[in-house]
Symmetry: C2
Subunit: 246 residues, 2 copies
DNA sequence: ACGCGCCACCTTACAACGTAAGTATTTGTC
DNA sequence: GACAAATACTTACGTTGTAAGGTGGCGCGT
């Protein structure tokens, strides 16, 4: 069974015979190509459907070929997380050093992370739940580069060491809570691949839960964006107090 | 090794004939026993090591026997989450209706959830990342009973509908962020079972990350408890504003 | 030009997993 | 004891991650 191979690589000889130049039909499958394909696959089909064989198939390759570039599935997922986190680097709105004050710096950073979360609603929980390489690297800002940027930025804006660290911890915890819940309400989840049928959900017997039933509409409404903004402002105020109080 | 079973069997009729307890060696494996065994197993060995066969073995039973009480692994995990969440019900410090003001109510609730998270550091991320049955049931307060308690409690304390719902959302997002990071720093994770060797981690080359290296000690220090307290107070102040502003 | 090694990918194989289907064994009731 | 129901076991299949080794063509030294 030959799947629809977009980048037909398989029978090279047949192509050669047909006289076509076939200019370097062989793209030799590097690590980054695998990783971005995996991100895409997860966003499309869910984490639980991502298997080495299926990912290989997407890339027009057998499963074992992936092992030349990735030690195993677990490390693949680590790579996926890195790939996603690194997307912030190419985000023009995210700056690496404060230019218009630390408030602006944090605003851009927060919105950058949020954009990533919303761009990968299914994969984002991975960023949150995979263990960081070091215990002081907390999700979702889980690589050294970002932590360094954060601390350096804050300190250059007059924060004491202790205040910068405290701000870092408060900032990550805020981001994680908000974004995880926001993507989760988008129907994403680490666990089950199966979309829940997209059928309009039956009400479980809400008889014994009058408030929930009464407020159901309000509970369903999505104010995530506004809540994010508001909480972020509050957080920034708190961080301002940390700065002064240090 | 017989596990200490707190509740014997269904002693409805047997209670009448109290002559001989007749502890027949066969305790017929009910759903709750499976679920609590699963929680224990996850806390001990990690999520990824929990297989139907191994869980069966722990219970002295073959894997397929579990299927009489649980539809499948996925649903087992849902049951695990429920079991964990329901632990709050037997927590004496958590009350179901405000008695000394809503602030006290929220404080008790928050600390109850935190106690659960810390009691099950490995399993807790499950509570956070598994999709709720309805989109307005957000982790970690992910069952109808708690949401009803929350809303009812707040409204009985004078909150408007809108304010109660807003408080609910802010509260869950706060809890999730803090607790997930707190248990994650405890070495827990959804993903890899393998404890990372417990070896003192080598420093990855921190040369290019001077701030991180300089602040490493401060970053490693654990102030989770104090931060939780402080953030919770702040949250409660914000919720007080919601109450007035509605 | 020629062979040879290396590189990128494929093939095969295996143990462990979730679980459908069928079978055996205990338990409760008369 | 006989019989039905409840409970647990056995077997089997397809899928997974991955260890081990095979294969074919490209590039280099001569």
């Amino acid at each position: 069974m030959s799947p629809p191979d977009e980048r037909g690589t398989v029978d090279a000889d047949a192509a050669v015979v047909e006289g076509k130049a076939a200019p370097s039909a062989r793209i030799p499958l590097d690590r980054q190509r695998i990783l971005t394909a995996a991100v895409r696959f997860i966003d499309d089909n869910g984490l639980l459907d991502l298997t080495m064989r299926k990912l290989g198939a997407v890339l027009g390759v057998e499963a074992m070929s992936l092992y030349r570039y990735v030690p195993g599935r677990e490390e693949l997922l680590d790579g996926v997380v890195d790939t996603i986190v690194n997307e912030m680097y190419v985000d023009d709105d995210v700056i690496h050093k404060p230019q218009d004050g630390w408030q602006d710096f944090l605003q851009r950073l927060a919105h950058g992370v949020r954009r990533i979360a919303l761009a990968h609603p299914v994969a984002f929980p991975l960023v949150a739940s995979r263990p960081p390489e070091a215990p002081w690297l907390r999700p979702p800002l889980r690589n050294l580069h970002w932590v360094e940027s954060f601390l350096d930025g804050m300190i250059s804006e007059g924060f004491s060491d202790a205040a910068a660290v405290a701000a870092y911890r408060a900032f990550t915890s805020f981001l994680l809570g908000h974004l995880l819940l926001e993507v989760s309400s988008l129907g994403a989840s680490v666990g089950p691949l199966d979309q829940l049928g997209s059928g309009e959900n039956e009400d479980p017997d809400l008889k014994s839960y009058p408030q929930v039933r009464r407020l159901r509409k309000a509970l369903t409404e999505d104010h995530s964006a506004a809540e994010f903004e508001e909480s972020l402002e509050n957080l920034i105020e708190r961080i301002a107090l940390m700065k002064k109080g240090s």
